[in-house]
Symmetry: C2
Subunit: 395 residues, 2 copies
């Protein structure tokens, strides 16, 4: 048994617990920082450990292109490759491939796409996407799905959802037949990866329900909710999450893909979500947008030029403990590498601290009170924009 | 008495000892990493401390432009500004200003120059350069000098040297009258900065001798050798260093500016040099050129793509302890921020370890043997190129 999920505390729909993978245990609810090509941009792995990162997300599409699946397999899998002896999750590659709107062609068999690096042609099917993820060797991997574009008509969304269901079955079949091929199979006591299914269904409650029910019939050890945070208004996101979760089994982890702001992730936990990932903290950091207990800060603002105070007086991270806003503002204005490093460390600390508080609040049955202290998430300035994506190197 | 230099061990011309500044003590011989705009590119200050960095060099020209001297003064000086409670040295601004060959005009009074950032006009005189360095508040500051271009005729070099001597006298006069204006004067028990003189004289032995003798007559607590490593062949550098050092007082520190490769810095120590700075380890790192006990490595090389070994098996730095050459090669090939961070950490570790071994060897009177284990420095591939410069943000 390579995967086990235990719920230890509940408060209304929110849950707190832990799951176990071949590379270690993860306390939930958990936020997973994005390390697109096997690196969280600018942050060394020992600093990720200090921050309390439990599990990272790597992008299959990017690692497939560079350094390539065979190379990572030969080097023992992503954990060994990036010197991160902790859990990793890979996405299916579907979201990135579908983002290449001009460069891809979708058929029942799979997706033909062109590399954003050199224009070369590639093909992902449910089988080949599984083969790639098995070769990379993350602890949790995702069924190959079609992320339906937004907006989309009902008929189109339904057809897309049906194909995702057929692809989920093909993904599972391939995985079951090949899961022993994971690079660390022998070394880790014949443990294997864990394959999650993905719920689609666009912005239609009945399709979300049908997608959830029929994905559950395929029987996965965990379920992701995909196709959200793609530009829709936030109340619609909440509605779709709710229409999926109520048809997912209570005893399996639920992973909401590609979200969100600090206020939103707390709200999703209240809906019953156990896992989330997002590029927002890391990407925003590189653009000088910092999350603090006093609200968002754009560190480039001239009003910080002579500000001797810490970035966030309530934060205990090594950036807030040592540097002034004036210095961080100077580094950003001077386009210094260190600005990106320090900003990223702080934003990750803020997200991880938030989730630590969330877990504690649920365990103490104080989550409702904790939640009421947060700004209503639909008022957060980023909520109207898509937060999805991988950390493309040029951004 | 704000500055004290003690020699504790000698072997032939090499010396090992320590000097004391208002922000702490420094063991010599010492290599000073370059933190151009108050940041060693990509490396947080706690990592510099872990590496054993004793003293940093900041560039007056860059800090004068951004964030400005008054801002740094208001924030308590560079040490407080960059949260580095250890010694700092600033250069005079002369070298950067003279590098702006199309953008400057030199007269007896000083140098008119244009900012590389926005083209705005500025003027540095010995007095204003001192005022800038006093406002920045580094522990050791440099007299304003003209770095003679290379190649230069005898008469031109002599005239330039004469002006540098007059500027040295003006620098010293201004410093003596204003040294109590340093931002941390009251806070640090009325201690002041230390002003070093700079020997010029181009590539002419007799001018080097005359410059050294007449700079010593002005009486500084330490002496720098400037105007070298500007494109001349390495044996000429050694000859000029020798022709300066033999006329400098034995009991004062000698600082050779803007050098060198690992082999060269060891050789300069053998000539009697106590302090050095260079952008080479940090700049080379950002271009994937890494210094190891087995020689130079260009980490982008495809032969490292599947190499599971550490960058340098003999190195104990946190990069070599954790990551494989394959991963470092992948980060560099993928243009990841982390490549620049980790490469810089390793190169600095290599330089600092080298200097630690140098100090130990002198103390144990084993330096001659240590030196014989190094490649002859004139065979090092970088030795023909200029290593001077500040860490311009765009590089």
């Amino acid at each position: 048994m390579s995967f086990r999920f235990e719920i230890e505390a509940r408060e209304d729909k929110a849950r707190s617990g832990r799951f176990f993978t071949p590379h270690g245990e993860v306390q939930t609810p958990v936020f997973m920082p994005v390390g697109t090509v096997a690196s969280v941009k600018g942050v060394p792995q020992d600093v990720l450990e200090e921050l309390g990162v439990q599990i990272l997300l790597n992008n299959t599409y990017h690692l497939y292109l560079r350094p390539g699946v065979e190379m990572v397999r030969k080097l023992g899998g992503v954990q060994k490759f990036m010197a991160w002896d902790h859990p990793i999750l890979t996405d299916s590659g579907g979201f990135q491939v579908f983002s290449l709107s001009d460069l891809r062609k979708v058929t029942e068999e799979g997706v033909m796409f062109r590399s954003h690096l050199d224009g070369s042609s590639h093909f992902f099917s449910p089988e080949s996407a599984m083969a790639a993820q098995i070769g990379l060797g993350a602890d949790i991997i995702m069924a190959f799905d079609e992320c339906t574009e937004h907006p989309a008509e009902y008929a189109r969304t339904q057809a897309s959802m049906e194909m995702t269901l057929r692809w989920a079955a093909r993904s599972k079949k391939y995985f079951e037949e090949h899961k022993h091929e994971v690079p660390w199979f022998a070394e880790r006591n014949r443990e294997t990866q864990t394959l999650f299914g993905i719920v689609q269904g666009g912005m239609f409650p009945d399709l979300r329900r049908e997608s959830a029910q029929r994905t559950v019939e395929l029987d996965f050890p965990g379920y992701a909710i995909g196709g959200l945070s793609v530009g829709e208004p936030r109340p619609m996101t909440y509605e779709m999450v709710d229409n999926a979760i109520r048809f997912l089994p209570d005893d399996k982890p639920r992973y909401l893909m590609g979200v969100g702001t600090p206020e939103e992730i707390v709200h999703y936990v209240a809906q019953g979500v156990d896992m989330m990932d997002c590029v927002l903290p890391t990407r925003a950091a590189r653009h000088g947008l910092l999350f603090t207990s006093e609200g968002r800060i754009s560190i480039k603002n001239v009003r910080f030029a002579a500000d001797e105070g810490p970035l966030d007086p309530a934060c205990g991270c090594k950036v807030c403990a040592r540097y002034s806003r004036a210095y961080l503002r100077h580094l950003y204005a001077s386009n210094e590498l260190l600005a990106q490093v320090l900003n990223t460390v702080h934003n990750l600390a803020y997200y991880l601290d938030t989730m630590r508080k969330v877990r504690q609040a649920i365990q103490l049955r104080e989550f409702a009170r904790f939640l009421s202290g947060f700004r209503p998430p639909h008022l957060a300035p980023e909520s109207a924009h898509s937060q999805r994506g991988s950390e493309f190197p040029e951004i």
